[in-house]
Amino acid sequence: MSDVVSADQIRLGQGTPGPKRRRPGLLRQVLGKGSGRIGMTIVVILVLVAAVGPAIVPADPYQMAVGERLRPPSSAHWFGTDEFGRDILARIVHGSRITLFIGLISVAIGLAVGTPLGLLAGYFGRRVDLVISVVTDIMLAFPNFLLALAIVSALGPSLRNAMIAVGIRTVPLFTRLVRASTIAVREREFVTAARAAGARNVRILSRHIAPNIVAPIIVLASLEFPAAVLVAAGLSFLGLGAQPPSPEWGSMLVGGRLYLRSAPWAINVPGIAIMITVLGFNLLGNALRDTLDPRLRQK
C-alpha cells in the first residue's frame, strides 16, 4: 500500500527537556484542533460500535438468505444486503471488531518487538546498535506492502497471518524511531546525572529514558494503526487476508466489488467504513503530531 509513515517524518521528543515531564494539556490540545476533535470522535464511536454494536444489532452477520440477495438499503436492512442476502449492517458492526483488532495487534507487535530493540540500540550504541540497525535497515529495504505480501505468501492466507505480516512490517518503524529518540535523550543532563549516581541501566532505561520517548511512540502508533488497517484490506483484496465468511471489511469490499453497477452499496458501505476509520485515526495521529512536534509549535 502506498501510504507511508516513516519514522523520518516524526521528529519529536527531542526538544522536550527534563525527566518525567508531564503533558497535562495534551488531550486538550489535541481536542482543541478541529481535526483532532473529528478524529477523536470517530475513534470513540468506532470503539463504542465494536464494544456494544454486536449485542444491539439483531441480524446474524453470517445468515445467508439467497432470496434476499443484493437488496438496496431499506428499513429492514439499513445498509442493504450482500451477494448472499446477508445483512450488511450486521456485518459492518461485527467486522468493526476485526478491524480494530487488526490495528491493535499489528501495532502491538510493532511496539512489543520494536521498542525494546530501539531502546537497546539507542542506549548501548556500538555493536548492539550496529547489529540492530543493520537488521532494521534490511527490513526497511522491503517496501512495506511487499514485505507483508511476502510474509503472507509464505505463511499462507489467513487473517491471523495477515496480522502477523502487518505487525512484522511495523517493527522496524518502531525500532528506528525509538532508537533515534533514545539517542536524543541519552546524553541529557538528567540521564548523565542518574548514571553518575550509580543507577543501573535497567533503571535508567525504564525510569528516565522510556517516559521521554513516549510521545513519538504514541504518534507513530496512531499513524501505523490506520496504515495496518489499509494493508490488511489490501491483502484481503488479493485473497491473502481474512477468509470467508469473515465479515472483515476488506473481504466485504472484495465480495462486493463485482456489483459496483447493480448493487453499489455492497462495495461502498465497507469502503466508506474503512475510509472513515482510517480517516479518524489519521486525523487523530496528525493532530497528535502537530501538537507534539516542537518545530511546529513555535509560532
Partner: protein
C-alpha cells in the same frame, strides 16, 4: 559531505546482502519441501527427487546454498518459473518497465497535487482553505486504493466515457491508475510541504522579504519554496520506493501489466522462484533509490548529519 555520500554507498552493500539473505531464507518459511513442490501434482519416485535435490544443490549446507543463490543472482540468473518454464529474470525484465512507468507517473501526480495543496494550505494557514485542503488530502490518503480505483473506473470511464479502463497502450491509459496512486500518496507530500513551508516562512529572511512588501505569493514561491524543497524531496523519494511495490494492487485493478500483477499471479500459482525474484529485484531497487535520495539530500544540504 563526500564522506557522507561514500559512507551511504558503502552501507548499501551489507543492506543488499541482507536483503538477499532474507529473500533466500523466505524459502525456508514456505511449507513443504521445495523439490516436492516443484513436482507438485506429478508422480515421481523418491530417487528422482533426490537427484533433483542434488542437482539443485539442496543437499548442501545452507551457507553454501546461499552463496550459490547469490552468485547466480549476481549473474542475472534468478531461476526458472515453475509456471511458464521461462527464466524469471526475463519475465521480470518484460514487466518491470511498466511498473516503473506507473510509479514515476503516480509520483509526478502526487507531487503536483501534494505540493500545490501544501502551498495553498500554507498560504491560508489556519483558515478555511487550509482546513478544507488538508482534510481532502487526508480523506484521499484514507481510501483503500482498490476501492478508489474501481470508483474512478465506474465514474470516469464508464459513466462519462472519457478515459480507457485497462491496459497500457497509450499515455491516456496511464491517467486513471496514476491518478489513483497520486490521490492516495499526495497527502503526505501536502503535509510535508505545508509544514516545511510554515517553518521557513518564520525565518528571518522571509520576514525580511515580507517586510519589504513582497506579495505573500511571491514570498512563498520565490523564497520559501526553494528552501522547503529538500524535505519534500526526501518524502517523494521514500514514496517512490514504496510505489514500486504499492502499485501492486492498482496494477491488478487496472490490468496494468507490471511486476505487481505478476507477483499476485505468482502467489496464486505458488510459483516461488518468481515470487523470490520479484522480491529481490523490487527491494534492491527500493534500497538503491533510497540511498540515492539520501546521498542527494546530503549533497544538497550540508547540515545533514545523520547519526
Amino acid at each position: 559531505m563526500v564522506r557522507y555520500a561514500v559512507r551511504r554507498l558503502v552501507l548499501l552493500i551489507p543492506t543488499l546482502l541482507g536483503v538477499s539473505i532474507a529473500v533466500f531464507l523466505l524459502r525456508g518459511l514456505i511449507p513443504g519441501d521445495p523439490v516436492e513442490l516443484m513436482f507438485f501434482g506429478q508422480s515421481v519416485d523418491q530417487e528422482t527427487i533426490e537427484i533433483v535435490r542434488r542437482d539443485l544443490g539442496l543437499d548442501r549446507p545452507l551457507p553454501e546454498q546461499y552463496l550459490k543463490f547469490l552468485l547466480r543472482a549476481l549473474q542475472g540468473d534468478l531461476g526458472t518459473s515453475i509456471q511458464s518454464g521461462l527464466p524469471v529474470t526475463q519475465e521480470i525484465l518484460n514487466r518491470y518497465p511498466a511498473t516503473l512507468y506507473l510509479a514515476i507517473s503516480g509520483t509526478l501526480v502526487a507531487i503536483v497535487l501534494g505540493v500545490s495543496a501544501g502551498v495553498v494550505a500554507a498560504i491560508f494557514r489556519d483558515r478555511l482553505w487550509d482546513t478544507l485542503i488538508m482534510a481532502a488530502t487526508t480523506v484521499g490518503q484514507s481510501m483503500p486504493s482498490f476501492w478508489l480505483g474501481l470508483l474512478l473506473i465506474s465514474l470516469v470511464s464508464v459513466r462519462w466515457g472519457i478515459l480507457p479502463v485497462m491496459g497500457s497502450d497509450s499515455p491516456r491509459h496511464l491517467i486513471l491508475p496514476a491518478l489513483t496512486i497520486g490521490l492516495i500518496t499526495s497527502a503526505l507530500i501536502a503535509r510535508m510541504t505545508r509544514s516545511t513551508l510554515l517553518e521557513v516562512l518564520n525565518e528571518d529572511y522571509v520576514r525580511t522579504a515580507r517586510a519589504k512588501g513582497l506579495r505573500e505569493m511571491r514570498v512563498v514561491l520565490g523564497h520559501a519554496m526553494r528552501n522547503a524543497a529538500l524535505p519534500v524531496v526526501t518524502i517523494v523519494g521514500l514514496q517512490f520506493g514504496n510505489l514500486l511495490a504499492g502499485a501492486f494492487i492498482v496494477e491488478v485493478v487496472f490490468s496494468w501489466p507490471g511486476v505487481g500483477e505478476m507477483a499476485v499471479t505468482a502467489i496464486n500459482q505458488r510459483d516461488y522462484p518468481v515470487i523470490q525474484g520479484i522480491l529481490l529485484v523490487v527491494s534492491s531497487s527500493y534500497v538503491i533509490v533510497n540511498t540515492a535520495i539520501d546521498v542527494l539530500y546530503g549533497v544538497l544540504d550540508p547540515r545533514v548529519a545523520y547519526d
